[in-house]
């Protein structure tokens, strides 16, 4: 604790000296630190939160309203039954290292992302590309194998960022991009600093001169950091019980919104005992969402029964698919051969919503005879042990990417360990379907299928519980995608 308060004191001194001049810097608090800084190498959402849109740019981007907007591509046309996309690039785009962006750079980036040896977390999105043509330096023509309703959304992701071939390999530690901000510094375990780019094609775009992303995983430490003014903005504060305190303080504004983050009690479908659907259904019959939501998010979370955000018009309420019924759960466990209960581990990452819901859900599962051992893990450990090695029974984490139902078609390579031919077929249809009504119906069936197979025990949709300095403007209320639009932020007097 002492080490921490000392670093806080140093940070305080630094911000105090800066505060005398007109404010053109910002310190943004984050729960999780990215393990590396390259979104084409690692799936951690924290990379996108800091770098996407700000440093790295993709052809498109997702706006605050959730729709696809132009980014590096200023315009595009879709032809031949949704199979040919022609993107127009602006002139004079340069990377932070002075290299020029051309249509060739885009082709190179996508070839790299979809290459057989690619480790891009969104590699599967590039498998649908048949050919990329670059008739001139400002035109990219992408031919798809099959039409895809989500192609433009996919093009917005961090995994589809356009990199400079010369610097791409170093982006893990020293990001180089085309965005309105450029990378300045990464102090591991503490912060990432970005500063306004001097070579951006639209110099008037960004107003904040320097942005610092500070990592504060401990929910208890987030509150004093905000109160002391060390942090100007915390878009997802962990200690939701303190929001009332901030609401009544004129120095702050509290903005509650939605995220795309479904929070399930994740079950390892490829490992005993949850390789048995009866055991997964038993868990679903045990969980009491109201208690979890009240205890872990102070009531701000919305209950979900499948993997789909409740604020979307296509959402189907499946929260009553498995009514709370301990006797039924015990019966299912008995059928599955666990009449004497089952020993299971629960490995929550260090985020308040995860740790707290883990503790509550563990107590609930004990009622049905599960012997739950809570083994809290640090974030880097979670990414390695749970996500990569798949060495876990249960965990809790928010899935913040939009349209990420295709996680359920990633088979045994993915840490869910879930594989189902019917699901694969549904997802494939949903992607190629261009008729909105039919797509809606397909996504309804996908939601039902996920709930029927009890892949996980779905708990709640992560709320966006933001605390910001009162004079900050340009804040996104909702978070349809994990980015921080720094260029939109400004201070008022």
């Amino acid at each position: 604790m002492r080490v921490f308060s000392t670093s806080l004191a140093v940070a305080l001194l630094m911000t105090a000296t800066a505060a005398f001049a007109a404010k053109d810097t910002i310190v943004i608090g984050m729960q999780d630190e990215p393990p590396v800084l390259d979104p084409t190498q690692n799936a951690a959402a924290a990379i996108d939160v800091i770098f996407s849109v700000n440093v790295y740019e993709s052809l498109t981007r997702i706006g605050e309203d959730g729709t696809v907007k132009p980014s590096l591509a200023t315009s595009w046309t879709i032809g031949e039954d949704g199979k040919v996309y022609t993107f127009k690039l602006p002139k004079g785009v340069v990377f932070d290292n002075g290299e020029k962006l051309t249509a060739e750079t885009v082709k190179w980036s996508f070839d790299r992302a979809g290459a057989p040896n690619s480790t891009n977390p969104t590699k599967r999105h590039f498998g649908n590309i048949a050919r990329i043509d670059t008739p001139d330096a400002e035109t990219v023509i992408i031919r798809l194998k099959a039409p895809s309703s989500l192609f433009l959304s996919y093009m917005a992701s961090g995994g589809a960022a356009i990199f400079d071939p010369k610097s791409a390999d170093n982006n893990k530690s020293t990001p180089v991009g085309t965005g309105p901000y450029k990378f300045k510094q990464w102090v591991k375990g503490d912060r990432v600093v970005l500063e306004k780019s001097t070579t951006h094609r639209d110099p008037s775009k960004a107003q904040i001169r320097q942005a610092t992303f500070k990592f504060v995983p401990d929910a208890a430490a987030q509150v004093p950091a905000l109160l002391a003014g060390d942090i100007d903005a915390f878009p997802t504060i962990g200690a939701t019980e303190t929001l009332d305190r901030f609401k009544s303080d004129s120095r702050f504004q509290v903005v509650i919104g939605s995220t795309e983050g479904e929070v399930p009690l994740i079950l390892n479908n490829n490992k005993k005992p949850f390789d048995d659907i009866r055991m997964r259904r038993a868990v679903n019959h045990v969980i009491d969402r109201k208690s979890i939501i009240d205890g872990a998010t102070s009531g701000y979370g919305l209950p979900i029964g499948s993997h789909f955000p409740p604020h979307h018009p296509w959402y189907i309420d499946l929260t009553n698919r498995y009514p709370r019924d301990i006797a039924k759960a015990k019966e299912l466990m008995k059928e599955a051969g666990y009449a004497n209960g089952a020993d299971v581990s629960l490995k929550p990452p260090p985020f308040a919503y995860a740790r707290r819901s883990a503790e509550i859900v563990a107590a609930q599962l004990m009622e049905a005879g599960f012997r739950v051992k809570i083994e809290p893990v640090e974030w880097a450990q979670w990414l390695d042990v749970v996500y990569k090695q798949k060495n876990y029974d249960m965990t809790v984490v928010a899935h913040v990417s939009p349209w990420d139902q295709d996680n359920y078609t990633r088979g045994l390579d993915y840490y869910y360990g879930y594989q189902n031919a019917e699901m694969d077929a549904l997802m494939k249809q949903a992607l190629v379907e261009s008729d909105e009504t039919k797509r809606k119906d397909l996504y309804g069936r996908i939601q039902r299928k996920i709930a029927d197979d009890a892949v996980h025990a779905f708990m709640f949709q992560l709320p966006r519980t933001g605390v910001y300095a009162a004079k900050l403007r340009g804040i996104w209320k909702n978070s349809p995608v994990s980015v921080t639009d720094l260029a939109g932020l400004r201070w008022v007097d």
Binding site: A219, V223, E241, D244, K290, I292, G295, A363, I374, P376
Partner: protein, 280 residues
């Protein structure tokens, strides 16, 4: 000195009596928790969270609706258990090493004492954090971490005190009578340094409780759902605006245990050292 005399001198010490009373409270709470708690300390009842103190919940409920009084009771068990085991590790290993050093002298003594210096050079809590970071968090590992850093304390004290005893004339007499090194150490040295060790053990017991609370506060000690005073303190932080008592109860419990053991240690030291008592 006679046993009765020692007890009488102890009972005359005000420090000792206050210390004994405070430690007695904690010990009684720990023993009681094995037979009875008003509620299950791990039973979560979210709708009844953050309830104020009442006839049903004497100390109110925490952010998950658990009974704070029951958690404090069971938490004392945890603190005392960690203290006893960690200090025992320190005493047994440390005393053995200290006696070995003073009996053998030479390079054995040098080696043991330099190792003790080396471990001593690190702040104990920092080292405990280091060990739990490597071995992983948990009650067992925190006991191990605290225990390891009790070893040099006892090794040093034992060696110093033992060397002083070994220089006395009656040791020479024992040696003349044909007693070997091991017998002299066990029959003459150990009984004569036990007073010093008892006082040190009491004080280190208090430090161990504090260290356990510190580790649990940092999330490295006792893991949920087992109640621990340190973790209760940590979890209460963000509720300070709404339920300040959540921090005060475990804080007071830690204070009572540590203060009690320190006073007990002070009183014992004064009672065991007649010169010190007379000079006051």
């Amino acid at each position: 000195m006679s046993r009765d005399g020692l007890i009488m001198r102890c009972l005359k010490q005000r420090n000792f009596m206050i210390g004994l009373a405070l430690t007695g409270i904690v010990l009684a709470a720990a023993i009681l928790s094995y037979f009875w708690t008003p509620h299950s300390p791990t039973r979560i009842n979210v709708p009844g969270r953050l309830a104020p103190a009442s006839g049903v919940h004497w100390f109110g409920t925490d952010h998950f609706g658990r009974d704070v009084f029951s958690m404090i009771l069971v938490g004392s068990r945890n603190s005392i258990g960690v203290g006893i085991v960690a200090v025992s590790i320190g005493v047994i290993t440390g005393v053995a090493l200290g006696l070995l050093a003073s009996a053998k002298r030479g390079w054995v003594e040098d080696l043991i004492m330099r190792m003790a210096d080396f471990t001593f050079a690190f702040p104990a809590i920092l080292s405990a954090i280091l060990i739990t970071a490597i071995l992983g968090p948990g009650t067992f590992n925190s006991i191990l971490a605290i225990g390891i850093f009790n070893i040099p304390v006892f090794a040093r004290i034992t060696r110093g005190a033992a060397n002083a005893i070994l220089a006395r004339d009656f040791i020479l007499a024992a040696r003349a009578a044909g007693k070997g090194r091991i017998r002299i150490t066990l029959e003459h040295v150990l009984p004569n340094i036990s007073n010093v060790l008892i006082v040190q053990a009491t004080i280190n017991f208090a430090l161990a409780i504090l260290a356990e609370a510190g580790l649990s506060y940092l999330g490295l000690g006792t893991q949920p759902p087992d109640p621990s005073w340190g973790r209760m303190l940590n979890e209460s932080q963000t509720f300070l605006f709404r339920a300040p008592m959540l921090a005060i109860y475990p804080g007071a419990a830690i204070m009572i245990a540590v203060l009690g053991l320190n006073l007990l240690g002070d009183g014992l030291r004064d009672a065991l050292d007649p010169r010190l008592a007379r000079s006051r």
